[in-house]
């Protein structure tokens, strides 16, 4: 469905070159849910922006159903935009406060076609119904809704063009716990009903495990581990994935947190460590780690781990 190969993105800033994304490759399977997970500044949002054509990579290709989006004609690119939609994190910043909901949802439709007034109203009522809002919501302004309802409006807008791929950038992290479940369930229902493919960006590991079918764990712009969610979470092979999972405080008073899985702090993408970027924090660091970038070793069906430890002990 969507295939990224060797995506690299650097930003030039006053303090030097930020190596935000370095040689990232992964494939999003059709009708699946791919999760990009990692800590702040790891480059996961930059990857989403590249897929959404909000940024251009300095090298690498993004293929959508086999076609390279960088070399698409204007018309093909317009068609691509029709099939790819996005839901962003902050429901306050993602809806223009000066437009009514009707106009907000109509916007993507009007960018691609010229339906009559009645047909447009009908489609808007339909997508509002899908996200569980009454048709009368269309006449109101965003500030008349709560955070959870705003996120529903954002989802309705994303659905307006009946896309095939939806990029969800932290879709629930700005919402309260009791509202999160509502929105997550809604997203799952929509996926099941319309056969959508999701790419979700999240930092909440429990959410990722619950929501995704495939996962790529990103550390400082590089994929540390990727594969189907179940084996990656059940049997994490990369020390970073292990550290992340060990660091999640569980809602269970008898769970003991591991404080030693990852020491120190994330390095700056301005000056990333040599070799494996995780090596300064890794408890298993050894000779090749600072010297060479580990390749992605296979560790089971579709499961890849970029760690030198796997060289001699493959799956």
């Amino acid at each position: 469905m969507l295939e990224l190969a060797g995506i690299t993105k650097h930003y030039r800033t006053r303090n030097g070159v930020v190596r935000a994304v370095e040689d990232v490759s992964f494939t999003v399977p059709p009708k699946g849910t791919m999760a990009l997970v990692g800590e702040s500044g790891c480059g996961k949002t930059t990857i989403a922006k590249i897929i959404l054509q909000l940024e251009r990579p300095i090298s690498g290709t993004v293929r959508f159903e086999g076609a390279d989006i960088a070399t698409m004609s204007r018309a093909a690119l317009h068609a691509y935009r029709r099939q790819v939609a996005a839901v962003f994190q902050d429901p306050y910043s993602s809806l223009n406060p000066r437009l009514r909901v009707h106009r907000i949802i109509a916007e993507p439709i009007l960018a691609h076609e010229r339906p009559g007034r009645a047909a447009l109203d009908k489609r808007i009522a339909e997508v509002l119904d899908i996200v569980g809002l009454p048709a009368t919501a269309a006449t109101l302004y965003p500030h008349e809704f709560s955070g959870g309802q705003r996120q529903r409006i954002a989802i309705a807008r994303a659905l307006a063009l009946q896309p095939r791929l939806m990029v969800l950038d932290e879709p629930v992290s700005a919402l309260d716990v009791s509202i999160r479940a509502q929105v997550l369930n809604l997203l799952q229902d929509i996926q099941a009903e319309f056969g959508l493919t999701y790419l979700i960006i999240a930092h909440d590991l429990a959410l990722v495990e619950h929501f995704s079918s495939d996962v790529a764990v990103i550390y400082l712009g590089r994929v540390a581990e990727s594969g189907p969610t179940e084996p990656v979470f059940a049997n994490p092979r990369h020390p970073y994935t292990q550290a992340l999972l060990a660091a999640v405080p569980l809602p269970d008073p008898d769970h003991v947190l591991s404080e030693t899985a990852a020491t120190g702090e994330i390095a700056s993408a301005l000056n990333p460590p040599s070799g494996c970027r995780f090596h300064p924090r890794c408890p298993h660091v050894f000779a090749p780690c600072p010297a060479t970038v580990p390749p992605a070793y296979p560790a089971g069906a579709g499961h890849h781990v970029a760690c030198h430890l796997l060289k001699d002990s493959p799956a």
């Binding site: 800590e39 716990v177 009791s178 509502q182 429990a206 660091a247 569980l250 008073p253």
Partner: protein, 320 residues
């Protein structure tokens, strides 16, 4: 008892009406104990924390009734000057969510960590310097002697939160109010700050009120939990009782609504609707509109039912 809060009411007098932000809460913290104040945004947990120090929104915030006693001393009637001199930063200290805004970017960290010590006349001159170095050591800032002249931007996010903690514990407070101290941090850094808070508590015997929306963080740090909803405490008890046998429907719903690591991919149990407005809230149980076990009785304020072992919940279902 280190801290005893009884029937505290703090209302915000806004132009739109009176917002009953904190409405009749009771809680207590023993020496060296961590109490988790858990709730969603707007539940009043942060304003409860600020009320303890009488740091209320200027002009609109007012403590309407109730008492706050620290080591038996009543704080609600204490004159402002005395509160500032003896209590704030001295016997009750606070750690805020965002380490970037808690630190002033134009002062060196030596200045800022030394600030409370200077203000409360605890140390001066060279004694001050060594006290600052000592407290920075306690929060595990490496080689603090060399870093006193450094500014906040020269530290990483996790280290900044350590520095904020150092400012808070410098005057060896009796009670530490930590408001979402790890929310702005990444998980691998969050673990380190959780460990730091545990260690501070262990070393100093300080009582901690941990204000958080994260049930995982609360479980990993707290001995007791108080669950807040719409300005009231709906359930309180030992951490195990709350997580193993939650009794209030809201607590139950909250625990069922979060995805858990290493559990089956089942559908989450969403809580329908949203919290009520605290301007003119429902007169009975405030959770009733969203509650799956709602009854006619819920239109009246629910009684607080003692479930033994310091575990109690405010629900009609339990009273019957």
């Amino acid at each position: 008892m280190l801290l005893q809060v009884e029937n505290l009411r703090m209302h915000l007098h806004l132009r739109r009406g009176v917002l009953q932000a904190v409405d009749g809460i009771n809680l207590h913290v023993a020496e060296g104990e961590t109490l988790g104040l858990v709730g969603e945004s707007g539940s009043g947990k942060t304003l409860t924390g600020l009320s303890l120090l009488r740091l209320l929104p200027k002009g609109s915030g007012r403590i309407e009734s109730g008492s706050i006693r620290l080591d038996g001393q009543e704080l609600t009637t204490l004159p402002e000057a005395e509160l500032a001199r003896d209590i704030r930063g001295r016997r009750i200290a606070m750690i805020m969510q965002d380490p970037m805004t808690s630190l002033n970017p134009v002062f060196s960290i030596g200045d800022q960590v030394g600030g409370p010590l200077r203000n409360h006349d605890i140390a001066r001159g060279t004694a001050l310097r060594s006290a600052v170095v000592d407290v920075l050591k306690r929060v595990r800032i490496p080689s603090p002697e060399d870093r006193l002249g450094d500014y906040p931007h020269q530290f990483s996010g996790g280290q900044r939160q350590r520095i904020v903690a150092a400012m808070a514990i410098g005057c060896t407070p009796r009670l530490l109010v930590a408001d979402e101290p790890t929310t702005a941090l990444d998980v691998t850094i969050q673990v380190q700050i959780i460990a730091l808070l545990r260690q501070i508590q262990h070393d100093q015997g300080v009582g901690i009120i941990l204000i958080t929306h994260d049930l995982g963080v609360a479980a990993s740090l707290c001995r007791r939990i108080a669950v807040m909803y719409a300005g009231q405490i709906v359930e309180t008890g030992p951490v195990r009782a709350i997580y193993r046998s939650p009794s209030h429907p809201y607590t139950q719903a909250l625990l069922a609504a979060i995805p858990r690591l290493h559990s089956k991919r089942t559908r989450l149990a969403a809580i329908p609707g949203q919290p009520p407005s605290l301007i003119d809230p429902p007169s009975g149980c405030r959770f009733a509109a969203r509650c799956p076990m709602r009854m006619d009785q819920c239109a009246a304020p629910p009684p607080t039912v003692d479930l033994g072992d310091g575990h109690s919940a405010a629900c009609w279902k339990l009273a019957n």
